[in-house]
């Protein structure tokens, strides 16, 4: 509870919705600790919508390498699959009707986006929580088709930079993640494409930041999609 003497801080979002491409990169770079960190220290539960759950399980590349780790993170609650059963822990109104709203919005979005993208963004809009998806084009497509997208949409590297800011990762760790993703022919943000993490960081705007710790990265936005969500640690 916030006492009268302390400044009131807005509550952190209850969920962070991972799209399949971010989930894949997290497992590829072995960065499950970032998700645990968000859950334990910030009370933000990483989650995937059912469509993403189905997508990652059927993806041959993901399945062959990370099926066990993924299942483990579901079993220990690091990630939850957002369905009719789990949703009620994150909403104050009737979970069934919230679920139906997500389905109804997702059904429209999926004309233009794939299943995972559609229902991730639809859930983000309905629940007013951030989504993590690397697909920049989905934002352009959504804009072209008049679809509402809850801002900001985080990339994998926004989570990495957040982990750096909050002391979970060092710059060296972040550089190793960058190299690993490039080695695996995975996309990384333009700021880090052709230079080291340390050199790219000043050109990268952090869309997720801890409000009690000095920010890292570019002090100014770099694109119209750059909006910042400020969160606050709930412990220590």
């Amino acid at each position: 509870m916030v006492s009268g003497a302390e400044p009131a801080v807005p509550p952190n979002p209850s969920l962070l919705l991972l799209d399949s491409d971010v989930a894949f990169q997290i497992f590829l770079a072995e960065q499950i600790p970032i998700l645990r960190h968000m859950k334990r220290k910030y009370g933000i539960q990483p989650a995937v919508v059912e469509a993403v759950d189905v997508e990652v399980r059927r993806n041959k590349k993901f399945r062959s390498r990370f099926a066990k780790a993924y299942q483990k993170s579901l079993d220990n609650g690091t990630i939850v699959v957002l369905d009719t059963r789990t949703l009620r822990a994150f909403v104050t109104t009737d979970a069934r009707s919230v679920y139906e709203s997500i389905q109804s919005l997702g059904l429209h979005y999926k004309l233009f986006l794939d299943y995972g993208e559609s229902y991730t963004h639809a859930a983000a809009v309905v629940l007013q929580v951030p989504a993590a998806s690397n697909d920049h084009k989905a934002l352009v497509v959504a804009e072209n088709n008049g679809l509402e997208i809850h801002q900001p949409v985080l990339w994998m590297f926004h989570l990495v930079v957040f982990a750096l800011q909050t002391g979970l990762l060092t710059e060296r760790d972040c550089e190793a993640i960058r190299k690993k993703l490039l080695e695996e022919a995975e996309g990384v943000p333009r700021a880090f494409e052709h230079c080291s993490f340390a050199n790219g960081l000043p050109n990268f705007y952090a869309r997720l930041a801890d409000g009690f710790i000095p920010a890292v990265g570019s002090p100014t936005t770099k694109s119209k999609w750059d909006h910042r969500i400020t969160v606050f640690a709930s412990q220590g």
Binding site: V54, R58, G106, F112, L113, K137, V141
Partner: protein, 416 residues
Amino acid sequence: MLCNLLDAAGLKPKVCADLLGIDHKIFHEWIMGQRPIPGFIVPELSSVLGVPPHAITSTKAVSSGSPENAPAVWFKFREADKLTDDDREVVVLIRKLGYFIDQLEEITQIKRISWTVLFETIRNGRDKQASFRDQGRTAARTFRSICQLGHAMEGLGGVIKGSGDQIRGSLRSLGILVIEGPIQKSELEGCSFHVGPPGGERPCIFANTYKETWFRRNMVLMHELAHAIFDIEDEAASLDFKGEEELRRSEEHRAEAFAQQALVPKEVLNHIAQTKGLRWEALTACGIAALVANAQVEPKVVLRAAQEAGFITADLASRYLQVQIHGELKSLTERALSTKEYFDRKGPDAAALWSPELRTTTIPARALRLPVPYVKRVLELVREERITDRKAMEFLMIDEHAFRRRFGRMLEEVVA
């Protein structure tokens, strides 16, 4: 329950999961009611299985495995003796494609439903007392007239620059799904059935391309069109198998007469003969090849049509049928070439764009060859930034690797 529906339809859950691109374990949990079926997949399952969405999510069990509980289209596919598992799998994929085509039309807001007018006009104009062959011929004349093909004096299979051939172009613009692809382990030559969600169905006609010529396929497609017009409303699906030449059922006579009249009416034969300077009583291999190349149907159909039109006698028809025309035909039309010969002749650009490999799905366990206009439209929407790359992969049923390899450069060039 989904479990009962699949059982009644004769679809194996594992196969179904593979075709729909869903993990076996999850699919098993869905069908056994151990995990709720997520809302996102219900419209697709509903469309593929041909049942309303509530039937998918219902937890009420129906008598397991009994065919009378199968959705009508699957009852037909389950019961046909000659049908193989491969055939049923292709039907699952085609129905999935039908679902995607509906989405594509919703995006572009161009709903093609002219087939309803065509079908109704033909059905309403049918003289039920007439012979089945006459019903077929009359229907074909109406078809040519409504589709404004009446003036087409060359074969309908001929290619019109920029719009494909007239048969497929006309059918697709009517909103009919036309699919041609190989099913190796199959006796199926062609079939027709409805695809699309309940209440939003459209007819689909399929021709098995495995070891079939282009000329034969044109006939198969028109034959299936006749079934789509007259028969699938009541029978849900119509199936034709290779080698069923005796045409046992009266509906088959009607379909065959329709196909022949639609493709090679008397006036077309007459026009070809006159423009090519052919003398019916003394046709050479070159002359017969010219008839086939211009009519775009196989020799036996051309000769039968010529005989029925009174241009040749039965004796001449059977003599001409023995004449080998393969070499002559290849020199007259690219349609007589094998795929490899075609792309060798057309050069690497043609092969790079629309070779069958580029249009073949990779995600489902079984491959399906997608129609060229469908693939083109999906790529156009990607270029216009109306759909994401990942949505395009979903529409094309291919994985990211295949998408980048096949279309990456093409899409990059446009962006640049």
